[in-house]
């Protein structure tokens, strides 16, 4: 009811630079070579011939593990726009790599907290994971759930539903006696137990992490941790939108290609009008998803309008990715249901991405606060 104005939209450059276009081409080539469908499908059967080569191609050949690491720490010193390009290609390829979790989420947190030593190790190809539930959208949503406590000089507790493992280094936010703190724990430290589940999306498995380790000195404490978590989670959420937009675009393109080939009733199936109209609607959605993901990346790069841009991108792209994947399965008919098909891989990834870094509902709730669209008071409705 306060006449608080809503945040004005900045005028952001939404077109790709030449550097970004080149980067896209390189990433797409590497992933096309390293992520064949058969190998991705085999992940669910516990056979992994793909995540190593794919990450090696991105991290070592293209140096993308260090994309967001500042140059003074041995990285490329690039920003969210470039990260979004890489993520979009990872989404298209359904790549089983820790780019989002390590090179974006964990790295952004370490950069913000100035963790020079850790960053140098990431720049050399190491990986890190933030130990929070996968659906965490903000420091606030992290703080509302139980997690790791610090007491008696030890970090102890269990965090369920963590993505990004295996990784070399765990970034563990804890509820300490003096507020939040962030600890760095090597994954091979005594008292670290990681159990990885059978996951809906085998290209990004989910783990539970149980800790009972020597606390040591935290990397940071207090409001600095809260601010850095918010920054890193927003960065990752914006970049995830690009992954979702890429996944959705792949689904549309593959479906159009399939329906342009397949014939039933003597006609190319893609010529049946009901399918054409659904694909046209999907085309509109996919184009918008690409634009809002680009907008979120540009907002992150310019550090303007970040909260609204990221919430919009997550609320929008999460839904479009699932819708595109569901339409792809349906319009591939029985073929899309088969284990050998690349289509269901995207369905599983899209559905998992929908939870990741906050559901669309959570991001819409955030928007309600950001743009003064308050929820009903409890008495109403």
């Amino acid at each position: 009811m306060t006449a608080q104005p809503i945040p004005a939209a900045p005028d952001l450059d939404l077109l790709p630079s030449d550097v970004e276009t080149d980067l896209r081409r390189s990433v797409r080539a590497v992933l096309a070579k390293t992520c064949p469908t058969e190998a991705l499908v085999a992940l669910a059967d516990g056979s992994d011939d793909v995540s190593g080569p794919a990450w090696s191609g991105l991290a070592h050949d293209l140096g993308l593990a260090a994309l967001l690491v500042p140059e003074e720490h041995g990285g490329a010193g690039a920003g969210p726009r470039e990260a979004a390009v890489v993520a979009e290609e990872c989404g298209r390829a359904c790549a089983p790599v820790p780019f989002l979790t390590s090179a974006v989420l964990a790295t952004s947190l370490l950069v913000r907290l100035g963790a020079a030593e850790s960053l140098a190790r990431l720049a050399e190809g190491g990986t890190a994971a933030l130990v929070v539930p996968a659906g965490t959208a903000s420091a606030g949503s992290w703080a509302r759930r139980t997690g790791v406590e610090v007491s008696g000089g030890r970090l102890a507790g269990e965090v369920r539903g963590v993505v990004g493992l295996p990784a070399d280094l765990l970034l563990v936010p804890v509820h300490g006696p003096d507020g939040p703190a962030l600890h760095l724990v090597p994954v091979d430290a005594d008292g670290v137990a990681v159990s990885t589940h059978t996951s809906l999306d085998a290209t990004r498995p989910v783990s539970d992490v149980r800790l009972d380790v020597e606390a040591g000195t935290p990397l940071a404490t207090g409001d600095e941790v809260t601010a850095a978590l918010d920054h890193a989670l927003a960065t990752a959420a914006g970049v995830l939108a690009a992954e979702q937009a890429g996944l959705a675009a792949w689904c549309l393109e593959q479906t159009v290609a399939h329906l342009s080939e397949r014939r039933q009733f003597g006609r190319v199936v893609g010529g049946f009008q009901a399918l054409k109209h659904r694909l046209a609607d999907l085309y509109a959605e996919v184009g918008q998803a690409s634009a809002v993901a680009a907008h979120a990346a540009a907002a992150l790069a310019g550090e303007s309008d970040v909260p609204v841009s990221v919430a919009v991108a997550q609320a929008f792209c999460s839904e479009v990715a699932v819708h595109a994947a569901e339409e792809a399965v349906q319009l591939h008919g029985g073929l899309g249901m088969t284990w050998e098909s690349p289509v269901h891989l995207r369905l599983k990834r899209a559905k998992a991405d929908h939870v990741l870094l906050g559901s669309p509902d959570a991001h819409r709730d955030a928007l309600a606060r950001l743009v003064d669209l308050a929820a009903p008071t409890p008495e109403a409705g």
């Binding site: 669910a44 059967d45 539930p133 996968a134 659906g135 369920r160 539903g161 993505v163 589940h197 059978t198 996951s199 809906l200 999306d201 085998a202 989910v206 014939r263 039933q264 009733f265 003597g266 006609r267 049946f272 009901a274 399918l275 699932v322 569901e326 399965v329 349906q330 008919g333 029985g334 899309g336 249901m337 088969t338 284990w339 050998e340 098909s341 269901h344 369905l347 599983k348 559905k351 998992a352 929908h354 939870v355 559901s359 669309p360 509902d361 959570a362 819409r364 709730d365 929820a375």
Partner: protein, 397 residues
């Protein structure tokens, strides 16, 4: 009249039970006696396990026998045999075929599967490319081709098969219908694994498989017409049972909601309430369809049942996965298994979500069902057909 039938039937059931006490009679013997008594399927003719009575009386017989502790013929093991093969053989078979096939089918001694769909003939069934060529020297038919989405093929003794016998005429006219022995040489069954990890279905490769002339059903070239008998039997068999409120998928989601107050969000609440209403509307609509059938006045609403069911199953299972938060990122088991039927409720939400995607594809895609409703119920024009008057062999593929 119907009362007369009922009391007559009750007497027959009583007589059967008196002569063959289920508590002491061997299962196979009881079933044979039931067959002889015409109580297998009362709407079938006398001598073929029935009494020529209205179909809806069967449920009463089944109830009486079940109440008396009598064994049944394990119908879930032979769904295609009982639901599709039997009515088709009855309608189009010769007396010899009736004699040969119906009794072992009903008794469960011979299991059946269906060889209709092919990689290039899904929604467009009339496009099947599997060839059946007569061997002049033996009078047998020689069958070659590939079929897909065949449930129970690895368990089956016989198959109902649609194959092309004349490629030189337009596609609907060149098909014939066969009863093919699944244990014959040249039949190879491979599990067809689905996105759930399971293989409910099979691919079946047919290489020079021989079918005796006596196992052609109906006349050569009648395959399309006969296949429609089969497919219409399938539609009748869907959605026949009364459903309590909150049964099935909606109940699963509602239970999850009730069990996890900490997971509740307003967004999910609105979707849940909306879907709960839709599920209840579908349930009520199903009740009315059944009431219409019971008075012999089937309404056209039944044609939309599967369409609505598929959409609801998909939306409800999608919501359930989301309600579970990070737990929804897990999956219970990817191991390749070969279930004999879909177990929607015995597994986790992720399984339901994936498996439900098939509901709008198997047994007639939702797109084909919409065509059927638009054309047959609403009377709108069919699609322009480019393949009606062209010899099958000349169609682009």
């Amino acid at each position: 009249m119907s009362e007369q039938h009922r009391s007559d039937l009750e007497q027959r059931v009583t007589a059967l039970l008196e002569a063959h006490d289920p508590a002491t009679t061997d299962r196979a013997e009881f079933l044979r006696a039931r067959w002889e008594a015409g109580l297998a399927w009362v709407h079938f003719p006398a001598g073929l396990g029935g009494l020529g009575l209205p179909r809806d009386l069967q449920a009463h017989v089944d109830d009486l026998l079940a109440a008396a502790g009598a064994p049944d013929n394990a119908p879930e093991r032979n769904g295609i045999g009982l639901g599709m093969a039997a009515p088709t053989i009855l309608a189009h078979g010769t007396p010899e075929q009736h004699e040969r096939f119906l009794r072992p089918l009903w008794l469960g001694e011979e299991i059946w599967c269906q060889l209709f769909s092919e990689p290039g003939a899904g929604s467009d069934l009339a496009a099947v490319a599997t060839r059946a060529v007569p061997d002049e020297s033996t009078g047998e038919w020689v069958v070659n081709g590939q079929k897909v989405w065949t449930s129970s093929a690895h368990l089956a003794d016989f198959a109902i098969l649609v194959a092309r016998t004349d490629p030189d005429v337009p596609k609907h006219g060149g098909l014939s219908y066969f009863l093919l022995g699944m244990r014959e040489p040249g039949v190879e069954v491979r599990p067809l694994r689905q996105l759930t990890g399971e293989a409910e279905f099979n691919e079946v490769f047919l290489t020079d498989v021989r079918v005796p002339a006596a196992q052609l059903l109906g006349a050569v070239g009648e395959g399309w017409r006969i296949a429609n008998t089969t497919l219409n039997s399938e539609r009748v068999s869907i959605g026949g049972q009364a459903v309590p409120r909150e049964a099935g998928m909606v109940g699963k989601v509602a239970q999850t909601w009730r069990a996890h107050p900490e997971r509740r969000t307003h967004g999910a609440h609105r979707r849940l309430l909306d879907l709960w209403v839709q599920a209840e509307a579908a349930r009520i609509t199903g009740s009315r369809v059944r009431q219409q059938l019971a008075v012999g006045a089937p309404g056209p609403e039944g044609s939309a049942t599967k369409l609505v069911f598929a959409r609801l199953a998909q939306e409800l299972s999608a919501l359930e996965v989301e309600l579970l938060g990070e737990d929804g990122l897990r999956y219970d088991d990817w191991t390749l298994s070969r279930p004999e039927k879909v177990d929607f409720t015995g597994r986790d939400a992720g399984y339901r979500y994936l498996r439900a995607k098939g509901n709008s594809i198997e047994g007639g895609t939702s797109e084909i069902l919409r065509n059927i409703i638009a054309e047959r119920v609403l009377g709108l024009p069919g699609e322009p057909r480019v393949d009606k008057d062209v010899a099958w062999k000349d169609l682009p593929r």
